[in-house]
Subunit: 269 residues, 2 copies
């Protein structure tokens, strides 16, 4: 239980103060903060609240969407996210890079855009001691959420920069299927900025964005992935991040208890 | 239009004779036959009908599901499919290898099972001059349809055998997102047994099995993939295989006309 981190999205109905309180009551030592509830609470107050709680902040979610039509807007939004990450003292800023722009079928060009926007953000992140964490997303989201589709591809991009400034996210939901996963996780040694867990369930729920399952409800072998991540030297927190309508409909305390118990059963770090 | 092949699944409501007739009426020179309608029509009669039609048979769909609990049943079913492929004179037997067995989370073990069942089928295929075509499937189907998730992984497996006996399928729907696609298609030179086209559409329809779109309705750059396949030396037919409830609800002649027109617009070989 020492390394469990509650990602706020897992308890989507809670505000920041309630999520922080839930961590304290359930003995969870780390939290993954989302920007929307942070903004809602007020960034300055929120930073004070989180810092006063003594919780570790395993990530701020999320920056990215580099592929939106207005490049300046993408840069400004991410610069604000980098500032917030520094203020929170979070381990990293998770980046969901964005999908194809509306009407575009230019996947290589869109991926090049990601590379170029990232490079423009790196100096600010380095100055502030913020680690950017590129999240490869399951190919189901390639068109509309993230054109970064494999851990190998994320590493190709990350390796253009210092590992203290650009790392990668290993999220079981996104990468569990990858036949090249063992080799790529080993290659990610020193670059794993975040380890997130949630399950792949079938049949896939109708809304693909809410297709994630609680550990144990699906097909992912969590210990196998956790062993790879540990063997690659990762010693950070393990974030449980689950987008799931059934989980969100539960009483929040019951949801947190379920997540805690399943984490203990299936990961147990 | 010379190389367009109508996969029967695109006109799911038609029986074998109707599908053959539609090809003739629309000037389509090739057909991808499915086993279920072939069995329904009667294999012997069906083979006669197809051979008499003068159509090329770009594939028989499908063998596979090597991962089902009963290995002997998997072998027997695939041996029958190989016989049918030979009788039809089809260019290949498309193999959807199967997902994780119920309750299993052993993805590496399941993939090993695929390798071993395939190896057992190769001698029969070689004897009958049948080409087995491994179909890498979009990772969305890894748990429940096919643990072969990338073209690279399919080639790793195929390369254990003679290219005239074990090839691969390049289906745009399954592989369009793959950042390694250009390199892997080039690597597939001499192994591309089938080239299938259909689009990736968003939002993803509620039933993931019917998530495929008509060319032009989604995000795939067909010419880019077709150029790769051509550069790798593929000179065979281009099968349009679309599982889509809206298409299936259309008048079949209108559906065939739509597919023919979109093929001409987006592929045009």
């Amino acid at each position: 239980m020492n390394r469990l981190s509650l990602n706020q999205k897992t308890v989507n109905g809670l505000g920041l103060a309630q999520a922080v309180d839930a961590c304290a009551r359930f003995g969870i030592g780390s939290i993954g903060v989302w920007r929307e509830p942070l903004h809602e609470f007020g960034v300055e107050r929120g930073v004070e609240l989180v810092r006063a709680s003594g919780l570790r902040v395993s990530s701020l979610c999320r920056g990215g969407f580099f592929t939106r039509p207005d490049r300046d807007e993408a840069l400004a939004d991410n610069r604000a996210a980098i500032d917030e990450t520094a203020a929170l003292g979070a381990d990293c800023l998770v980046l969901v890079v964005g999908g194809l722009p509306a009407g575009s079928r230019d996947l290589p060009g869109t991926r090049e855009r990601v590379r170029s926007v990232l490079a423009e953000l790196v100096p600010q992140a380095a100055d502030l001691g913020v680690r950017l964490a590129l999240e490869p997303m399951h190919p189901i989201y390639c068109a509309d959420r993230g054109v970064l589709s494999t851990l190998g591809q994320a590493l190709d991009l990350a390796e253009e920069h210092d590992p203290s400034v650009v790392g990668v996210v290993v999220d079981t939901f996104h990468v569990w299927w990858d036949p090249d996963l063992p080799a790529q996780v080993e290659r990610a040694r020193g670059r794993i900025a975040s380890f997130q867990v949630c399950d792949w369930i079938t049949p896939l729920p109708a809304d693909a964005l809410l297709a994630r399952g609680v550990m144990g409800d699906g097909h992912v072998d969590f210990r196998a992935v956790a062993d790879l991540v540990a063997a690659a030297g990762y010693r950070g927190d393990v974030e449980v991040e689950i987008f799931n309508a059934d989980l969100w409909a539960m009483d929040p305390d019951e949801a947190v208890a379920l997540v805690r118990d399943r984490y203990a059963e299936h990961v147990g770090w």
